[in-house]
């Protein structure tokens, strides 16, 4: 149908009656004549936002409070941010902050049990919740106005006198362990987690996840210590909004928290992010799905970056005008595509593009997305795109002020991160000024289209075009490490006894228990041909080992010399630049080499379990696969079925290029001091050789200078 205006235009315009009719209609309907959507381009000025008074006070004990009265509804709400976070979890106790945050609320207080608090709150239709997230803790309360005293009382009691009841600690651990057991059930969760790990690194505080072992390590003392370290009023910023009088609520807060003294917290250093830009293709093989989840990106930036307003505009264009239009509307490939340069308040976020598409179109979708990222850095956005993105931001800016809770919690957030309280206005001014040139410059400066890390979670058997057409594929194993002491929860007793039998046979084939137990230390000279970004590099290495837990490697490379030392739980590196402590992930990698050393596992056979997995193909030939584990880790050991010699191992490595499944093929067995061991070791990842090692000389029970293992 046509609009009325168009119908009128169809009238013969020269007929006087028609002109008269047109004028009458135009006059009588001047204020509300129908218009087509695109004809409506000017608007009456928007009514002014009535900014509420925000009262800002600091309580005597240092707690910062922002209050806004809102008398429309009979409720009172509070939300606080607490200066703490799971980034402060010790590496071997990941999950500590999470449990502390949960049990703070569920574990009750010294005077009322957690279950009692549940009941009191729920019969008031109220809630009080606490939790600790990656970079902050939170406390929230919501009550009907008449219950505000009770609510604040409970909130204060929980914050000041938590009981951390053991039973609720146990419950929180059950929840965490169950979460671990379920973390591979949902493809979204797998994709988000593994992508985050690719960007920040597997055990980095911004991308680590609790494991059974780390949860088991957490004790009630750890929890109370964590609480006592961080939960002080001077570490808290509180936002309050609702139906109250600000002076009264301030008095209530002073009374409730008056006896809570301030205290100084020695904060650990914030985790550093040292990102290496690189192009990688990664796959999590999931045979039970018919749709791939794809994410690609690299490290992102900070909200405080001067380019942030230009990046806000770029994000809107990249997501809405590019990814959505191309992948969804035009190609019908996906339901939800996005492209987003992520920024955080106090550490680099993640530049992240993603989508989901049927298995067959996986590679096609990736190419389209890569193209859009690239285009962003190569040509300016169009005038229409720029205008629309800015109009959208500026015209919807009023929604930042459409509720009191938004206004006051934003102030709290800015205060927590020490941002200017008018940051949002500054951002708006910035967006107003953004030009096409700014967007292109920001895209060129912040996006690295040739160095994206690509992750696919899907069924590679159904990809139309193989993923390898994009480059070498690193397959990520997401097997959940079993709980300590339950290394093989499903292992039948037969597979354990068969495993032990084969392990012993292999030990006999290599020289027997007695020969191995005589070895207390070794010094091995070897040469390594290592694949690096600069091609193959020759390295010579003298490794000195004192079993079971000390290894010293003197490495010389064309780039210089280095000493790599691990003594049990500690590790360090000495390079021409000086000495530095090893990150835990690297220490584990180095220690892993020792764990997989046949002398160690054969000489300490009693500390190891072996489970027979089955007859498997290893490096193209049949081998007997046994899963060998000890308290320091686990790996697959492959035996030649005729000789029982160990022909190699496979294991999960969290290497520098991200996690990978590594296979080492062992060959060239030679006898030294009664033990027969491989002198050649070729390591491969997904069939691609990454290093070849040859032993030049091995000496056993050597004299070791104790200084090698001492930190100066």
């Amino acid at each position: 149908m046509k609009t009325r205006k168009q119908q009128l235009r169809d009238f013969c315009p020269f007929e006087p009656a028609a002109i008269a009719l047109l004028m009458i209609i135009a006059l009588s309907e001047s204020s509300f004549a129908q218009k087509a959507p695109k004809e409506i381009t000017s608007f009456t000025p928007l009514n002014k936002v009535q900014m509420p008074d925000v009262k800002q006070v600091t309580l005597r004990n240092g707690m910062k409070v922002y209050m806004v009265e809102d008398h429309d509804y009979p409720t009172v709400d509070m939300r606080a941010m607490v200066r703490t976070g799971s980034i402060f979890d010790p590496a071997d106790k990941v999950g500590l902050a999470s449990i502390t945050g949960t049990v703070l609320r569920t574990g009750g207080t010294t005077t009322q049990g957690g279950d009692e608090i549940d009941k009191t709150l729920e019969t008031m239709g109220a809630y009080v919740e606490t939790g600790i997230e990656q970079g902050s803790g939170y406390v929230a309360m919501s009550v009907l106005k008449g219950d505000v005293d009770k609510g604040v009382g409970i909130l204060a009691d929980i914050l000041m006198h938590p009981a951390f009841a053991q039973d609720k600690i146990d419950l929180a651990k059950v929840e965490l362990r169950s979460g671990i057991s379920r973390r591979n059930d949902n493809i979204w969760e797998i994709t988000g987690r593994e992508f985050n790990s690719l960007i920040y690194g597997k055990s980095h505080p911004y991308s680590r996840y609790p494991e059974y072992a780390t949860v088991d390590n957490i004790t009630r003392d750890d929890i109370t210590d964590f609480y006592e370290k961080y939960f002080h009023p001077n570490n808290i910023v509180l936002a309050v909004w609702g139906d109250f009088n600000s002076n009264e609520i301030q008095k209530r807060l002073e009374t409730a928290f008056g006896k809570w003294p301030s205290a100084k917290t020695e904060y650990p250093e914030r985790p550093q992010v040292n990102y290496q830009y690189r192009y990688t293709i990664n796959l999590v093989q999931k045979p039970d799905v018919n749709q791939s989840h794809i994410q690609m990106g690299h490290i992102g930036g900070m909200i405080s970056d001067p380019d942030y307003p230009a990046l806000v505009v770029m994000n809107a264009i990249l997501s809405n005008d590019r990814m959505f239009k191309v992948l969804r509307t035009k190609e019908g490939l996906t339901y939800a595509p996005w492209g987003y340069y992520g920024a955080e308040y106090n550490h680099p976020g993640v530049f992240n593009c993603g989508t989901q598409t049927k298995s067959q179109s996986t590679v096609h979708a990736i190419r389209l997305m890569l193209n859009e990222v690239n285009r962003m850095t190569e040509e300016p956005v169009t005038d229409e795109e720029l205008q629309r993105a800015k109009d959208s931001y500026l015209n919807s800016f009023v929604f930042n002020f459409d509720s009191r809770s938004k206004i006051v919690t934003r102030l709290m957030t800015y205060a927590y991160y020490s941002y200017p309280l008018d940051f949002i206005d500054k951002l708006k001014e910035g967006v107003e000024k953004v030009t096409k040139g700014d967007v292109l410059r920001a895209a060129k400066a912040h996006l690295h289209p040739d160095e994206l890390q690509i992750l696919v979670v899907g069924n590679k058997n159904d990809f139309g075009e193989p993923l390898s057409s994009l480059g070498d594929v690193n397959e990520i194993d997401i097997t959940i490490p079993p709980p300590p002491g339950e290394e093989s929860p499903s292992a039948a007793p037969e597979s354990m006894s068969k495993g032990k039998e084969l392990f012993d046979k292999s030990m006999a084939a290599c020289g027997g228990a007695d020969a191995f137990q005589k070895i207390g230390s070794t010094r091995t000279r070897m040469t390594l041909l290592q694949q690096t970004e600069r091609g193959e590099v020759e390295i010579s290495d003298v490794a000195t080992v004192i079993y079971p837990d000390r290894i010293h490697q003197a490495v010389s490379t064309p780039m210089g010399e280095m000493k790599i030392v691990v003594v049990g739980e500690k590790g360090w590196i000495v390079s021409p630049q000086g000495k530095m402590q090893m990150e835990e992930s690297m220490r584990k990698e180095v220690f892993g080499n020792l764990v997989r050393d046949p002398i160690r596992f054969f000489s300490h056979a009693d500390d190891h379990q072996a489970q027979f997995i089955g007859e498997e193909e290893f490096q193209g030939v049949k081998a007997l696969d046994i899963l060998v584990s000890c308290k320091d880790g686990a790996f697959h050991l492959y035996l030649d079925p005729s000789t029982n010699l160990p022909v190699g191992v496979s294991y999960q490595s969290s290497g520098l290029q991200g996690p990978a499944n590594v296979e080492e093929a062992w060959s060239d067995f030679r006898e030294t001091d009664g033990v027969r061991l491989p002198f050649k070791n070729v390591a491969t990842v997904n069939g691609k050789t990454i290093s070849r090692a040859s032993i030049v000389e091995v000496e056993h029970n050597v004299e070791v200078d104790p200084k090698l293992f001492e930190e100066e």
Binding site: M1, E29, F32, Q34, K35, A36, P37, K38, I40, F43, P45, N47, K48, Q50, Y73, P74, T75, T106, D115, D118, K119, E122, T123, G125, S142, L144, D170, L171, V174, E175, R177, S178, G179, I180, N186, I187, W188, V289, Q291, S319, R328, T329, K330, G332, L333, Y335, W338, N352, Q356, Q387, R388, D391, S392, L394, N395, S396, V398, F399, D402, S403
Partner: protein
């Protein structure tokens, strides 16, 4: 999820639109209630307006009284397809030459009809199919030259629209957006055009998008698969039987012509209800509604659904095997939300499974530690027709569905055997009241409540008046509905079990 801002999944699992109650704050609500105004256009379309001048913004909510429950075999998923197509524009929006485009769209429909007929013939002629496909592709790509892709979205975006979205449920299709409050007429022009002159362009691409949505929400989601199988078992006759997203084979075959016919049947103005909440003048809204929406010709109201789910004849138990940890859900048939027992059933679900002090949370999570998550809710999968009261448990590591089911049965039996406690009833009443107040603070949630109550409950006032029914619920009422509905014969059990473990269950 990071992809905020797109359509939400249509089949929000465990979505619970709680029916509202009210007690101690009657005054506040009386004030709000007295400010609500309504207007019915000559063509039968209804407008509900609540003026709120706190901030210069306004939320619009268009409620089409059609959902997947209106779908029959062969066209499952079509309500949701239509929802997607309603963003493709009109004669004016989304095209650079409608006259030319329109002819091509007609011929695409003709080619598609021939093609799909031939493909499903007993002896398909492959040469003919190939020729038709070529013709189809070339016509489609010519038609696409006239498309201004996503112009509908772009117009709303640049005007400062927030939360532009739509969602299809078993009961309804709802279109929402919020705008700065000086853009009311713009919305009137857009929304009336949308339902007066829609053009379902880029149809076949969008059908592919929806198939991806089905893979995303059901086929790659163990819990999604369970829900689909569970509802199919619980409802053998009523169309709550099938998921909103529809069967894959139907999605592969629904045509543009099917969607046009469906639109003509269910999108007449007397089947649409709009709520406008925010910084507006009600009289202006009504005047503009007459001007813009009054143009849409009226017609007969669609005939109500005939099929009623017959009484269940015995317990049903289904299993879904997937690469997943276990989960168990139990559903009991119950009457529609309009039934007088609805409030007592809400109380029952609240006492059994809402909150940390509820019966099954206390037993399964806190005491026995055999589950990490439990819940109870009504309105599964919809509210309008007789539906299910469901309880579910997510077993903790090392524990089984069987243990959880047994513990839930014990708690449900207690609800049947003994009256609930006073403090439990208080908890139900106060938490319902608090939810109601919190829901009213937000313009867009308020607009959703007003349309839901007007259409499904028969009167928008029910948004505020359910209070009386909630407040009147007694322990005897709860026990009475428990006795009536919590029976073995009336229940359906659904279990998600880790692949390969069927034999052990």
């Amino acid at each position: 999820m990071r992809n905020k801002g797109f359509f939400p999944f249509v089949f929000l699992l465990f979505l619970s639109v709680s029916s509202f109650s009210l007690r101690a704050w009657g005054q506040t609500f009386d004030v709000i209630k007295s400010q609500v105004r309504t207007h019915t256009l000559a063509n039968g379309m209804k407008f509900i307006v609540l003026e709120r001048h706190d901030a210069p913004v306004v939320s619009f909510h268009t409620y089409a009284d059609v959902g997947s429950a209106q779908e029959s075999y062969g066209i499952t998923g079509i309500s949701h397809i239509l929802e997607h197509m309603a963003f493709k524009g009109t004669h004016d929006v989304g095209t650079n030459n409608y006259a030319a485009e329109s002819k091509l769209l007609d011929s695409i429909d003709n080619i598609y009809a021939k093609l799909s007929g031939e493909e499903r013939a007993v002896n398909p002629d492959t040469a003919k199919i190939a020729a038709l496909k070529r013709k189809f592709d070339s016509t489609d790509s010519t038609a696409n030259r006239y498309v201004s892709s996503m112009e509908y979205w772009d117009l709303i975006r640049e005007k400062g629209g927030r939360g532009l979205n739509a969602y299809t449920s078993n009961d309804a299709t709802q279109y929402i957006v919020s705008l700065p409050s000086n853009r009311v007429e713009f919305w009137m022009a857009m929304e009336s055009d949308r339902f007066m002159n829609p053009v379902f362009r880029e149809f076949f691409q969008e059908r592919n998008v929806i198939m991806e949505e089905r893979r995303l929400g059901i086929e790659t989601q163990p819990v999604g698969k369970l829900i689909e199988e569970f509802l199919a078992a619980a409802f053998k006759s009523h169309p709550y039987h099938h998921e909103v997203i529809g069967h894959m084979s139907d999605l592969e075959n629904i045509s543009r012509t099917d969607v046009i016919n469906y639109f003509q049947r269910y999108y007449g103005p007397n089947n649409l209800t709009v709520a406008v909440v925010g910084d507006v003048n009600a009289d202006d809204v009504f005047r503009m509604a007459d001007t813009y929406f009054g143009r849409i010709p009226g017609g007969p109201k669609p005939e109500p659904l005939r099929t009623v789910e017959p009484e269940q004849q015995g317990e049903k138990h289904i299993y879904v095997e997937a690469q997943s940890q276990p989960l168990v859900i139990v559903g009991f048939h119950r009457p529609s939300v309009r039934d007088k027992e609805a409030a007592a059933l809400e109380a029952l679900a609240n006492v059994v499974g809402n909150g940390r002090s509820s019966r099954i949370y206390t037993s399964l999570v806190k005491d026995k530690k055999i589950a990490v998550q439990v819940g109870a809710f009504n309105g599964f999968p919809g509210y309008k027709y007789p539906n299910l009261l469901a309880v579910y448990a997510v077993p903790s590591k090392g524990h089984t569905n069987e243990e959880c089911l047994k513990a839930m049965e014990q708690e449900l039996q207690r609800i049947v055997d003994e009256p609930v406690r006073d403090d439990e009833l208080t908890k139900y009443k106060r938490s319902t009241e608090k939810d109601l107040i919190d829901g009213m603070k937000d313009n867009s949630r308020m607009a959703a409540s007003l349309t839901f109550n007007e259409v499904v409950m028969g009167d928008w006032r029910q948004t505020f008046d359910t209070l009386k029914e909630v407040d009147a619920v007694t322990a005897a009422d709860v026990q009475s509905v428990a006795k009536k509905y919590i029976t073995r014969k009336n229940r359906t059990i659904g279990e998600l079990i880790p692949e390969g473990q069927t034999d052990e269950n």
